[in-house]
Amino acid sequence: MSAPAIEAIGLSRVFDQRQGLFGEPKHVVAVDDVSLSVAAGRAIGIVGESGCGKSTLARVLLGILPPSAGTVRIAGQSLAEMDRRARARLIQPVFQDPMSSLNPRRRVADIVALPLIVQGVAGAERNRRVGAMLERVGLSADTGARYPAQLSGGQRQRVAIARALVNEPRILVCDEPTSALDVSVQAQILNLLGDLRAALDLTLVFISHNLAVVEHIADEVAVMYLGRIVEHGENAAVFGAPRHPYTRALLASVLTPEPGLGLPDVPLGEGYPDPSNIPAGCRFHPRCPIAIDICRVRPPERRAVECHLAP
């Protein structure tokens, strides 16, 4: 069997947050001993609320942030041992806000060409590949001569996708790629990502707070809470029969366009998760509607569903 396309082994990332000039630094554990592996050609969705560590995990997987502990492997090779160029050929990001990830002073064609220049692709070959990529993401040929500010949000996100894919990487890491877009444009981008994924046999890591979007695009889903993946499984299993109480609350909170259902009562209480102050025992227990004594003292076993009470 071939190695997984991307693998995280015991991955942690800790930030030191200073409390004033002379204060003791506080450890914020954004990602806490996370392990997962994604087979080639699969799409994994990573969902969770703000502060759960999903974007930090994305940056560590991309090699933008070094892990505090653990290893990322791409096609069996350690990411830490690769140089930047080798890494860029294998894995590429698409971020939420293309306005801040695209250089506003460069024309679209130059933005998309940059990864090729870095890899030493020149001349007619470079122009041909840039033109073909723009067409592939649904941008007209004359878009290449324009600046990001002259484009709509959806067009800018297409440029970001073109730049990410122009070198034909194996893995695309999308961090909230449609969160800043209107629903009709979001649908265009999701359809595009779905088409490209099939055509280019991409492995997709798709990070989002929007469960409906993740269910639509992913094969499997990992639910993060305060730095840990608390439930991980095939889409149908997690969405059809969620086992962790947090997953159940998240799913219950999704407001589908069905009148008559009213507003769900989400039994999570008022406690707000704070990554600089992770609760003892099960980290979800202060908000958990079914917590019992053991949840307050002992962390749950590390398995696909991290809950003492999950079936």
């Binding site: 629903v183 009709s184 649908a187 265009q188 999701l190 269910e215 407001l255 069905e258 507003l263 989400v266």
Partner: protein, 325 residues
Amino acid sequence: MSPPTLEIEGLRVGFGAMEAVRGISLSVARGETHCLVGESGCGKSVSALAVMGLLPPGARRTVRRIAFAGEEIGHLSERQLARLRGDRMGMIFQEPMTSLNPAYTIGSQMTEVLRRHRGLSRGDAAERSVAMLDRVGVTAPAMRLGQFPHQLSGGLRQRVMIAMALLCEPKLLIADEPTTALDVTVQAQTLRLLARLQRDLGLAVLLITHDLGIVARVANHVSVMYAGEIVEQGSVEGLFAAPSHPYTRGLLDAIPVPGKVRRGDRLGSIPGIVPRLQAGFVGCPFRDRCAHAAPVCAVEAARQEAGLEHVYRCRLAPGWWREAA
């Protein structure tokens, strides 16, 4: 029967040669929620600001009639409107940090509202503020008065803003994307809170949102806005049972719904982008993006009835999608 809390007829707002709001009409009754839904740039937020008299300098507003609890307010001076705002009309925004002053404590901002509009003493104002914070579910309300906005979580800040908007027990609450910046679990909790307060206070709520999921769950009436016009309006049941404007149908098809769409299915998407229209534009604003456009759409968009209190502006006859399928 008492008049609606808010009535708007023929509201137009222009900026230079552009017209952002092109003749919208709607009303909100006591205890009712009217949702104004649309994508960015459709004019929904500008409409709300126009109602409150908070448009930026340079904006042109014309309106046939705008009435608050039956009284015409279109001609009021800025001073008279300012008295109405915060007292009988409240407004909350997407990002609480834009309406909370980061340099003042929660307490000083809340008591100022009561001292100015109600002439309460410092002590009475503090007491009322604590009671209101408690009512919106802020834990340890007395302690919060001494805190600054940045010391609170996003969900708590949104509750503080709601409490501030409701301090003088207004009749009308205008909420512009009040939960868009919140996490889904906190969004559900915040919307439930708003619904409870609305029931208790008999509030009329004009809720502005881009999210049809929220609309379906909280609205009594819905207006779908596109390029400055209301293209479809109706009761929430009627509109969701028979969405009749091609734009409304397109929006609904574009939303992934858990358990409804099979993975791998393509989502419906609307090609192109929202046009910015000049004053004097005629015809259907959606025609350039519509799969059903015909020559007549360049001339006019007929007003048609899809059901009781359910109207839309389109040449296509009621139930057209059944034949199209």
